[in-house]
Amino acid sequence: MFRSKRKRQTRKDVHVAQLEAIVGPTEILYEREDLLSYDCDGFTVHKAMPKAVVFPKNTEEVAAIVRYCSVHNLPFLARGAGTGLSGGAIPLNGEVIISLGKMRNLLSVDYENRQAVVQPGFVNLKLTNSISNKGYYYAPDPSSQYVCTIGGNVAENAGGAHCLKYGVTTNHILGLEVVLPNGEIIEISEDGIPDSPGYDLMGLLTGSEGTLGIVTKITVRILKNPQGKQTVLAYFDNVEDGSRAVSGIISAGIVPAALEMMDKTAIEGVEAGAYPVGHPDDIEALLLIEVDGIIAGIDEQIDEILTVCKSRNVREVKVAESEEERGKWWANRKTGFGAMGAISPDYLVQDGVIPRSKLPEVLRRIKEISEESGLRIANIFHAGDGNLHPLILFDSRVPGETEKALEAGTACLKACADVGGSITGEHGVGIEKKEEMRFIFTDEELEAQTRIREVFNPDDLLNKGKLFPTPSRCMDVKKVIKDTVAVK
C-alpha cells in the first residue's frame, strides 16, 4: 500500500520471486537499501546482509516460507523487534529473515484461567496495557518491554527486573505453536495446561534462541496485580556497602519483586539521558528495591529493608511517595542501556550471572578490567539474582576500540564463570557469547546439546552459527565473520 512507484533496479532472483508469491509483493524486501536496516539487531558489533526479509501474516505463511527455504536449502531465521543484545537475529549466512512484526495481535484473554494467547510479534508491554483495566498483568519485564516482542522473549527466555520474585519467561509460558525447520506446524500443550506428560518440550524451546523452530502462537500466564507495592531508592558511598546491603536484604528472608543496582558510571549515563531523576553525582552505587504483594506485611518489609540499608552505611534512603515518583525511578532504570548513548557513541552490554555473595569480588575484578582496557565500564544490574550487566563504553570509530571492548566483555564473563557463575542471565548467547560457552561447558556437553539441535534442525538452516561454538566447522565460521566484516 505504501510502496512508492519507483523503478526496480535489482533483477529479482528466482527465490525472491517465489517467496513474494507466498507473502505478496508489499510484504517482501530485497533491495540493498531496504535490507540494510536488517543487518543487525540490538547487538551492533556484527553486521551481515540478509538475502531478503519477508513479512508473513499468519502461521500458514510462515510454514510455507520455511518449507520453501528448507526444500531449496536457503538459510533462514526469525526476527521480532530486533532488540536482542547478543546478535540472535543477525543474518550471518545471508539468511532469509522471517519478520514476525506483522503477526502482532492479542488473540484472546481468558481471565478465568488466567491466560492469554498472543501472536509472536505482540509487544510485551502491550499485553499488560491491554489487561490492566481488569487488574491483570504479564510479569516478565525486560527493560526493552516497551518495544520487544513476546516471540523474541520466548526465543531468548527473557528476564527483567521483576524476575527475581516472579521468574523469567519460561515460568510464564503455558503453550506454544511452533513451525519446525521442515515447515511442519506443531502445538505444544495446546490448552495451556501445565505439566503435560512426556518431555518438557516447552522448556526446551523457550530460550533455544531461534535454533529449534519458529514460534507462531504463544499462550502465556497472566497474573493479578499485586494489592500493594512500595519502592525504595538507596544511595551508597561505596559499591561494597551496596553489594552487602543486597545480600543482607535477601538473607533477611525478604523476596523483593525487584532489586536493582547501578554504579557511578551508569548513574552518569542515566542522568545524562532522557529520564534523569536527579541522583547525586558523587555516590558510588544506588539500589532500587521494590516490594509487592498483599498490603499487610509490606510496611514491615520496607522497615526491614531500611534497617538493612542503614546498617550498611547508606547515605540516603527513601520510599517513593507517589506512583509518579515510582514511575520516574523505573523509567530512569529501564532506559538505562539506551541512555549510555548520551555518554558514549557505542556500548557493549554483557550479561553474566554470579552467586550474590560474590558481588563485591566480581565488581572489583570488572573495575580492574576497565582499567586494563582503558575503557569505561558502567554496571547496571539485577543485583537480587546476581545478574550483572557490565556496559562497556567504546567508540567504534576509533580503530581497535571495538576489539578492545569485545576483549573486555569476554574478560568480564570469564570473571563470572571463575566464581562459579554463568555467561548469560537473560540476553542469550547468540553470536556474541558462543565462544564463551566454553567457559562453562566441556566439549562433550556442547556436543550433546548440538545433537539436540540436530534432532529439530538437522540441516542447520535455521539460525545457523548461533548459540554454540562450532568445533568441527570453526574454519567456516571464521570465513563468515571475515565476509561480514568486509561488508561492514
Binding site: F2, S37, G273, E403, P469, K478
Partner: protein
C-alpha cells in the same frame, strides 16, 4: 580452543581505512554527532507511526538513522531507495521523546532531506505542487492575502457550493477533494485588519509587550484563531505587536528538504523580530521551527548566534499564558472536550501540561483524556498532500482513540486542525475542532456579554 570474536575481528580488519567514504555530496549534511548518540537499542520503534503501519525497519526511527549513517559511511548512495524512507517519515518527533539517549532524529531527517532534494530535485506533480506552494506562495504575504481574498470569494460567492454540486471535485484526487470539503471559513487576516496599528493595546494596565507570529496559512485560513490569540493576550494585559516584515516560518520548506529557502525565511524573521523580547506563536509547527533556527546555521557562526538569541524568545501561546498568568474565565462552556497533542508541541517543544490546564480552567468544561493523545494525526505539514495513503492510515488510528462522546477536540496547531476535521468528517463523528485559545477567547467573550447584560439589567432597574 577457537579464537574469540575480538581476535577474529582484529585479523579481518582492513589494512587502511578510506579517507572520506561519505556519499553526501553537498554542504550541510547530516551531523555525525547526532547519530553517534544512537546505540540501536530500538526503544523508538513503537513510537513511530510509520513503523507501526508498515512493520518495516527502514520506516522506523532507528532504521532511518542507520540508513543516514550508512550513506556517510559510503555503503549506499543518496538515491530513490534512500529517499523513500527519509520522506515517508512524518517528522512527528515521537521518537525523540521515546529515545533514552535524546537522539535528534528529526534534525537528522531534515538534514538528509536537504541532501536528497539537492541530489534528486522533485519532478512531476509533486514538484509542481511543492514549487507553487513553498516557493511561489507561502513566503509572500501579499500573495497569501490575495489567495485569502480569492478563497473568501470562492466561499461567499456561492462558487464553493456550485463547485460541490457540479461534481468538479470528483476529478480531483480523492484526498484533495476530501480536504476541500473541510476548508475552514475564511475571514479577514489580522495583518490586514490591524495594518494601521503600531500595537494592539492591552485591555488593562499593560504588564508586558509581546510580538506575535501571524504565520502564512494561519492568517489566511485561520485568521479567527489569530484574532482569538490577540484577544486572549490583550485580555490578559499584554500589548501585542504584529511586526510587518515577518514571513512564513519556513517549517514546511525545511521538512521538504529546501533548507536554503528555510534559511532565507529564517533570516527575515530573525530581523523582523529583532527589537522584540518575546515572540508568541499559536501554531505548534511554526513555533518548533522558530525554536530550531540555530540548526539551520550550523556552518554560519554569525547567524547561528543571532538564531540562538531569537529562538530563546519564542514561546507557544499556551505556555506563555501559563507562565505569565491568565485570568480564569467565569462563564461556563458546557462541553465535553478532549485534547490532541500536536507533535511539534508535545514532542517538539515539550508543551503538554499547559494547554490541558488552560482547558480545565474554563468552568463547565468536562475534560476527557484521549488515549495516545500524543500520537501523530498524519497532518505533518503537507505530508497529507504528498503521502495521502500513509497520512490516511495514521489518521484512522488517531480517530480510533478519540472518545466517542466528546463534543470538541482541542489542539494547538492548524495543520492538525485540518487533518482532524478531515478525520471527523470521514468517520462520521460530530466533534468540533477548536484551537485551545479559541475556547478561552469564547469564554472571555461570554464573560463580557454577561457583564454587559448585568449592567443593562442594573441600568434598567435603576
Amino acid at each position: 580452543m577457537a579464537k574469540s570474536l575480538a581476535a577474529q575481528l582484529k585479523e579481518s580488519a582492513p589494512p587502511c581505512a578510506d579517507a572520506s567514504p561519505s556519499n553526501y555530496l553537498f554542504k550541510d549534511h547530516p551531523d555525525e554527532n547526532k547519530w553517534a548518540d544512537c546505540v540501536h537499542c530500538g526503544m523508538c520503534l513503537e513510537s513511530c507511526p510509520t513503523y507501526l503501519e508498515t512493520g518495516k525497519e527502514q520506516h522506523s526511527p532507528r532504521g532511518r538513522v542507520h540508513l543516514i549513517k550508512s550513506v556517510a559511511e559510503g555503503q549506499i548512495s543518496v538515491n530513490e531507495h534512500f529517499a523513500d524512507p527519509v520522506f515517508q517519515c512524518l517528522d512527528c518527533r515521537a521518537c525523540t521523546t521515546a529515545c533514552p539517549a535524546d537522539v535528534d532524529v528529526g534534525g537528522l531527517i531534515e538534514e538528509a532531506r536537504g541532501q536528497v532534494r539537492k541530489a534528486i530535485p522533485l519532478k512531476g506533480w509533486k514538484g509542481a505542487v511543492s514549487g507553487f506552494f513553498l516557493k511561489g506562495l507561502f513566503p509572500h504575504p501579499d500573495r497569501m492575502r490575495t489567495v485569502s481574498g480569492l478563497l473568501k470569494f470562492y466561499q461567499k460567492s456561492g462558487l464553493q457550493s456550485a463547485v460541490r454540486k457540479t461534481g468538479a471535485l470528483k476529478i480531483m484526487p480523492s484526498h484533495l477533494a476530501d480536504m476541500e470539503a473541510i476548508m475552514p471559513k475564511v475571514k479577514q487576516p489580522v495583518q490586514k485588519k490591524y495594518k494601521d496599528y503600531k500595537f494592539i493595546p492591552a485591555k488593562g494596565n499593560p504588564k508586558a509587550r509581546v510580538a506575535m507570529l501571524t504565520g502564512c496559512i494561519m492568517d489566511v485560513m485561520f485568521s479567527d484563531i489569530n484574532e482569538s490569540t490577540i484577544n486572549v493576550l490583550t485580555h490578559n494585559d499584554n500589548d501585542v505587536v504584529l511586526p510587518k516584515n515577518q514571513t512564513c516560518c519556513g517549517a514546511l520548506h525545511v521538512h521538504a528538504g529546501d533548507r536554503d529557502m528555510g534559511r532565507k525565511l529564517a533570516k527575515q524573521n530573525i530581523e523582523a523580530f529583532q527589537e522584540e523580547g518575546k515572540v508568541v506563536v499559536n501554531a505548534a509547527g511554526c513555533g518548533c521551527a522558530l525554536k530550531e533556527y540555530p540548526e539551520l546555521f550550523k556552518d554560519d557562526p554569525e547567524w547561528k548566534a543571532k538564531a540562538e538569541v531569537f529562538s530563546d524568545k519564542v514561546e507557544d501561546i499556551s505556555k506563555y499564558l501559563y507562565d505569565t498568568g491568565y485570568e480564569k474565565p467565569k462563564s461556563t462552556v458546557n462541553k465535553k472536550i478532549t485534547y490532541h497533542d500536536a507533535c511539534h508541541l508535545a514532542h517538539g517543544q515539550g508543551v503538554r501540561h499547559e494547554p490541558r490546564q488552560l482547558l480545565q480552567d474554563i468552568p463547565g468544561v468536562e475534560y476527557t483524556e484521549m488515549a495516545n493523545a500524543d500520537t501523530c494525526c498524519g497532518s505533518a505539514g503537507i505530508y497529507n498532500i504528498t503521502n495521502p495513503d500513509m497520512a490516511g492510515a495514521v489518521l484512522e488510528r488517531k480517530m480510533e482513540n478519540v472518545p466517542e462522546e466528546v463534543e470538541m477536540i482541542s489542539m494547538g496547531n492548524p495543520g492538525c486542525m485540518l487533518q482532524m476535521a478531515l478525520g471527523v468528517q470521514k468517520y462520521g463523528r460530530r466533534s468540533e475542532i477548536v484551537h485551545t485559545v479559541q475556547l478561552l477567547d469564547w469564554a472571555y467573550q461570554k464573560d463580557k456579554e454577561n457583564i454587559a447584560a448585568n449592567q443593562k439589567a442594573i441600568t434598567m432597574k435603576g
